[in-house]
């Protein structure tokens, strides 16, 4: 992922950038979320950080960009530019294993595998084998496919009665 260019330690840049967290999911770093795609140096020596948006309308993207610029600038890396990379589109499959573990530990159910190919119409509630991140029970039901942020569905555990967020397959 990180190409080494003469004169700059891009590994170090990547390490700092990858510590920046998602403003809505602060237990996830941008690297664990899969939003951070690349760091490189442009022709005039500026550091260019590429990020891929999760959802088209996600308002957290502006905060991520600002956080990246601030953290890198504070670390003495300047000038920094954040580039939006639209293709290939972000998928929840890019969330790392560490990221999934962090989600679970913080009461958010991690996404299953994103579906590929033709999109079938689903007229019944989506069937996901989801375990309650609070008590571990598999007896859960979807309350709404659209939760507190664009990326989450709202679930309820029938065993312990607690509501919880599920990061949607995308």
């Amino acid at each position: 992922m990180v190409a080494t260019l003469k004169g700059t330690d891009l590994q170090r840049v990547w390490a700092i950038a990858s510590e920046v967290t998602d403003p809505e999911l602060p237990m996830l770093t941008l690297a664990d979320l899969g939003v951070l795609r690349n760091v490189e140096q442009d022709a005039v020596g500026a550091i260019v950080v590429s990020i891929t948006p999760t959802y088209t309308g996600c308002p957290a993207m502006a905060a991520m960009r600002d956080d990246l610029v601030r953290r890198l600038t504070e670390a003495g890396i300047a000038p920094v530019r954040v580039r939006v990379q639209l293709s290939p589109p972000w998928t929840s499959d890019w969330i790392s294993d560490e990221g999934r573990k962090a989600l679970r530990e913080n009461g958010i159910s991690p996404p299953g595998t994103s579906s590929r190919g033709p999109i079938a119409l689903t007229l019944k509630p989506k069937r996901r084998a989801i375990q309650c991140p609070q008590c571990g029970s598999g007896d859960t039901e979807v309350t709404s496919e659209f939760g507190s942020t664009a990326c989450k569905a709202l679930y309820r555990c029938r065993a312990c009665g607690e509501p919880f967020d599920h990061l949607k397959e995308h």
Binding site: P23, V48, S50, P53, Y55, T56, G57, C58, P59, A62, A63, R65, D66, D67, R70, R81, V82, R83, V84, Q85, L86, S87, P88, P89, W90, S114, P118, I119, L121, T122, L123, K124, P125, K126, T143, S144, E145, F146, G147, S148, A150, L154, K168, H170
Partner: protein
């Protein structure tokens, strides 16, 4: 003693809150500055595509999303329950995101379509297109602008629009313009959730009470006359995009499937006539769009040099 104690706690809390506010300005989503949604994206027009036509096509798709997103946002605080309220706001947010990228892409392809503002105005191109065009310059289909009805109307219209848009976006994933292709690839996933949401509620209302079924029947009678316009298409769509006539069959199959599960029959109603040969894609809109835009645009127009 107790009083003093409480006061101290409150003071501490305030100190902390203000400290956070002052050191972390960038965390506020609004009030920093505009950003370019296509920053760093290669917007070179590929060979064989006409830039002006591509811009017009992006306006059409962008305006469909923008105008319907605003109608959806009008539902905020009015939905039958909190979950649905949040869901509808999420749908609107997805569509605003699509509109923003499409309008920015339109402006990057052909800057002559962007309204001119006073010198020094910081308003970015996509906002100029959204907030500083008259109704006659909008290229959305009329189904997107119709005033909201009841929840059954929301479900029925969303079912039709999301099924149609999803079919088009699935084909646009292979579009020669890398920006349009990327927007479509992202949009497909969002629209699939929208269509499922609408389809499930459609079936639920159809199988609910006689009242929910009556309302659904009325909603279909209101929405169906605006469906033929979706499939008519323009030369622009046929030349640089997806001919909507090519997806009409597929859209019909999906709608028939939902109707069949719900035990509903498509109403036998004539399509809404064009006005002197023109419809939404040609800038011929209902009066309702003007009123909607007046509300949507008023603040931006009052402050053309404003920073938000």
């Amino acid at each position: 003693m107790n009083d003093i104690h409480i006061q101290q706690d409150a003071e501490d809390a305030h100190d902390n809150a203000y400290a956070g506010l002052l050191s972390n300005d960038a965390h506020w989503a609004f009030g920093t500055d505009f950003e370019d949604p296509l920053a760093g994206v290669d917007t070179t027009i590929p060979d064989g595509l006409d830039a002006a036509e591509l811009a017009q096509y992006c306006l059409m798709l962008g305006d469909d999303a923008l105008v319907y997103a605003h109608r959806l946002s009008e539902w905020t605080s009015r939905a039958p329950d909190l979950e649905e309220d949040i869901a509808i706001a999420n749908l609107a947010l997805d569509l605003v995101g699509q509109a923003r990228l499409l309008l920015a892409r339109a402006a990057a392809a052909d800057s002559s379509i962007v309204p001119v503002l006073p010198e020094g105005s910081p308003v970015p191109d996509e906002d100029r297109l959204a907030f500083f065009r008259e109704a006659g310059d909008f290229r959305n289909v009329r189904l997107a602008e119709t005033p909201n009805g009841d929840f059954a109307e929301l479900v029925t219209r969303l079912l039709v629009l999301s099924t149609w848009r999803l079919a088009i976006f699935e084909r646009l994933v292979g579009h020669p313009d890398a920006v349009v292709s990327a927007i479509a690839a992202k949009g497909v996933k969002e629209l699939a959730y929208h269509r499922d949401f609408a389809g499930r509620w459609f079936v639920t209302l159809a199988g609910g009470t006689s009242e929910s079924r009556r309302r659904l029947t009325d909603a279909m009678r209101a929405v169906w006359p605006l469906i033929p316009e979706l499939g008519e298409g323009t030369d622009t769509e046929r030349t640089v995009g997806v001919d909507p006539a090519a997806v009409a069959l597929e859209v019909g199959v999906v709608l028939d499937q939902v109707l069949a599960v719900g035990g509903m029959t498509a109403p036998d109603v004539p399509g809404l006539a064009r006005v002197r040969g023109r419809a939404g894609r040609q800038g011929m809109h209902s009066e309702a769009l003007s009123r909607m835009l007046a509300e949507m645009q008023v603040v931006a127009r009052a402050h053309p040099r404003g920073r938000w």
